[in-house]
Each structure stands twice: as C-alpha cells, then as structure tokens.
Amino acid sequence: MFDTRPPKLPAIPGVGYKPQHYSDILAGPGAVGWLEVHAENYMGDGGRPLAQLRALAALFPISVHGVGLSIGGEDPLDRTHLDRLKRLVDWLNPASFSEHLAWSSHGGTFFNDLLPLPYTDATLARVADHICEVQDTLGRRMLLENPATYLAFDETTMAETDFLTELVRRTGCGLLLDVNNVFVACTNRGENPEAYIDAFPVEAVGEIHLGGHDAQEDDRGAPLLIDNHGAEVVDPVWALYAHTLGRTGPMPTLIEWDNDVPGWPVLEAEAARAHAMLAETQA
C-alpha cells in the first residue's frame, strides 16, 4: 500500500526551477518557499543538473513534476521510463510527485506535448489503471493535473470534473489544480471557469499551478488561448485563483514560467503576489 498522507508541500508559493536562477535562489529566495522540477530533466547519470538538485533539496521542499509518463495514453505505461522515475523519486524523496491527465507517447513515439483524450468509461478505466501502476511502483500517492485543452472529442460522455472526481475515488490519487489551465480550457470551450472550479473535487487538491498564456483566435474569431508558460499570470487568472482559494483554503501554489524565462526578480514578484493572496485566505 502506498503512503496516503497528504503531500508535504507547504501552503506557500513555489516556482518552477530554472538553472539560470540557481545563484539568485541561494542568495535570496524571497517569497519562494519550495521548488518544482520536471522529472525528465533529472534522469541523467550525474553532472551539474543532479548536483544542483541535491544542493537545492537540502534547502527547500522539492516537487517532482513529470511530463513524459503518458498516463492518458492508450499504450501500456513505459516501464523503462517508470523505473527511471522511481530511481529519481527514491533518492530525492520529494515532498510531492505529480503528472498530467494527458498523453505524450503513442506507438513508440514521444511527442513532447501534453495531448488530449476523450472522457469515456473506457478511458476512465485505463487512466485509473495507469495511476494505480504509478502509485504502486513509486510507493506513494501522486497528484494528477487537469489539462489545458484546445479542442473537444465527439465521443466524450462526461465532464472533465466528473472524470477527475471518479479517478480520485477509484485510485486514491490527489489532484493538482492548474488554475491557468482551467481558464484556458474553459475559454476555449466557451464555458465558465468559475463554474468549473465550483464543480472541482477540491478536497483532493494538494497543489495549485498558476502560469501565463498566449491569447489568439481560431478561424471563426473565437478566442483560442494557448498555455505557453511564457508570460506573467493575467488578472482574470489571479481573480480565478482568489475564487479557488475561497474553496480550497491555503494551498501550495506554483508559478510556472518555462519559456522566455524572466530574471529572478520578475518571477519572485509573481510568487510574492500569490503569497499576499494566500495570507488573506482563511484556513
């Protein structure tokens, strides 16, 4: 049986770790109290990446965030990759491990993107099996993140929030609630993001993500938001975050910024804004 205790990340802001910020973080983390790393960037045998991660883990709680397990895929999980992940989680013993409700590999090809899946009884059973396999292998509870999506499947029979609620019931996993993804996906579907948050199984949430997106339009002039993690969090997403905290209470909150990464003061200022909102939130 895996450890079902809640994740140990503190209910304060963290940031996605970028090597160019290493010295800044050691000199003064400011409002940033923990760090998240992409699992796949730390699967080498040694060298600077692992040395930096070891040093940071001695100072901060670390969240390991996978982007390559393809939990939403049709194929069986890649055991070689799952074993790599287990090695990392075993030596690092992070405060949390999370992955995505998405697929990234199919037929032996890795596509390096978080791709969408239809929500049906069949996909529900398959994703639940994959989550159980991950949790059994790692010997710990994982968090599953809601995706940013750009299109819909005709065969979908259930709402994403119902799909996630049922996954939690079947597997005992927790959820990573990405508020920017909610804003992006709901806008792209023409739905109300606050209604999505209100339908979300908040009792399972162990972490929140905030990030930037790019605003475009589709061929018919409808808004098409792209989750690019390449800009500041926009005001409507901060407002949705405040609404979310009203339901969840204070939560570990990550600022994700993966492309066009800014200097440390800009990233820290985003964390400070989250810190101020967390401080105003009733436990």
Binding site: E40, N41, M43, G44, D45, G46, G47, R48, P49, L50, A51, V67, G68, L69, S70, G73, E74, D78, T80, H81, R84, W103, S104, S105, H106, G107, G108, T109, F110, F111, N112, D113, L115, P116, L117, Y150, L151, A152, F153, D154, E155, N188, R189, G190, E191, D218, D219, R220, A222, L224, I226
Partner: protein, 241 residues
C-alpha cells in the same frame, strides 16, 4: 490516438475525425496548435542540443532542417537529453548540406559533449597514481564522461571558432578530440594522433604497455598522461594482482 498521433508529424495529413471546437464547429485551427507544439518544441530541443550546427548553417536553415529531422526521427524516449543521437548520420545524407561534409562530425562532437555533461560523477585518481612501477601491466579505467571523437576535418577548431569569443578561425586537417569533464563543464581538446591511438587502445581495454606500443614512437607520453590527469579522466588503475 491511432489517427491523432500520426497526423501530428505529417503536415499533409487530414485532421483526424471526431474532433470539434466544442462549439459545434470543426477543430482545424485547434488541432494545428498541437501539431505546432510538437514540431516546434522538438526543434527547440535540437537547437539547444546542437548550438554549433545551428551557428554554422544559420537559425532559419537550422530550424527548417531540424523540422525535417524531427518528423522523420521523432524521439522514442521522454528523456530529451538523449535525443538527437541519429542527427549526425542524418546530416551525412541530407542533400542540402552535402557541401558541408564536416557537419556530421561536428554534430558527433556536440552530442559527445552533451553525453559528457550528463555522465555519472566519478572521483579521479591521485596525481601521482601513475608512478606505480607495475603501471605497464595495468588497465586504466576512465571517467564515464570520457569520449574520443575522430574526424578527417578540424572539428575542434570549428567548434571553438563557433563557441568561444575571440577564438581563431578554423583551419587545418584531421583532428581527434578528447572530451572530458574535469568539473561540471565538458571540455573538448584536440590531441595528437599518437596520443589518440594510445587513449583509444586504453579505452578498448588494452593494458598500459600494449597501448603505448600501439601508439608508436612519436607519442609525447608525459604530455598525454598530464592531460589525462589534469582533466580528471582516469578514475582507477587496476594492477594485476
């Protein structure tokens, strides 16, 4: 997914059936977002992994060429630090760069540097470790980061001229490069042909004396050993018991 997946890499494929914009319209522009993410993110990984090739052919040409590569050689593993091993061979057969015959070996050097960056840590032997009188019969074990890259072209000079500010323009002929990782940064260094033969024989598992014999008389042994020790390339000296 059996229709979705191949259409991601094939820009001429029709958009898979059963998708919509969730408003009753087609998914066309929305499917293109995924298609674009896949190729652009993998192209970016190639640009990060082969910065000297990028500099040699220019940004626009590199991205077009990498786009052809990622569509024909997509990754099999989610660990992109190891992606691109097939790129040098691709460069040898990609007709638009046939006039740059050194490109593939420069790519091999860049990939060796990347492997060295992620290689396992290993403590080097003490500086006086080779003073052992039984050294002629000994097998030397090398740090996991150690690589030799040989080419009929001056690949180290080309690499330097496109990596280091103020480095001289590349000229000359064949070069063999020793890649080591004294600390965290991989360090490429052109070595003499006799030194290359010596190190190649040691890496192949020959004992010190036999490796020295295969190197030939022109080897500067003192300089070669100093280089191996200075670069922390030797991690054990196994003397037959």
């Amino acid at each position: 997914m059996s229709a979705f997946a191949p259409a991601l890499l094939d820009p001429t494929a029709a958009i898979p059936p059963g998708l919509s914009d969730a408003r009753g319209g087609p998914a066309d522009r929305r499917f293109a977002v995924y298609r674009n993410n896949v190729v652009v993110s993998l192209t970016e990984a190639m640009a990060t992994g082969f910065p000297v090739i990028l500099k040699l052919v220019g940004d626009e040409f590199f991205r077009a060429m990498a786009g052809v590569f990622v569509r024909s050689h997509p990754p099999e593993s989610p660990v992109l630090a190891r992606y691109g091993a097939a790129f040098p061979e691709f460069l040898e057969t990609f007709a638009p760069v046939a006039h740059l015959p050194y490109l593939a070996d420069v790519g091999r050097l860049e990939f060796a540097l990347r492997e060295a960056y992620h290689a396992a840590d290993a403590a080097p032997v003490a500086p006086d470790a080779l003073a052992d009188p039984r050294v002629m019969d000994a097998h030397l074990r090398f740090a996991p980061a150690t690589r030799l890259v040989a080419s009929p072209y001056p690949i180290h000079a080309i690499w330097r001229a496109n990596s280091e500010a103020g480095a001289p323009p590349a000229k000359g002929g064949a070069e063999t490069v020793l890649v080591s990782r004294p600390d965290w940064d991989p360090w490429p260094r052109a070595i003499a042909p006799a030194s290359a033969r010596f190190i190649q024989a040691l890496l192949a598992g020959r004992p010190f004396g036999a490796a020295l014999e295969s190197a030939g008389d022109e080897i500067d042994l003192a300089a070669t050993l100093t280089l191996l020790l200075d670069t922390k390339s030797i991690i054990a000296i196994e003397v037959p018991g």
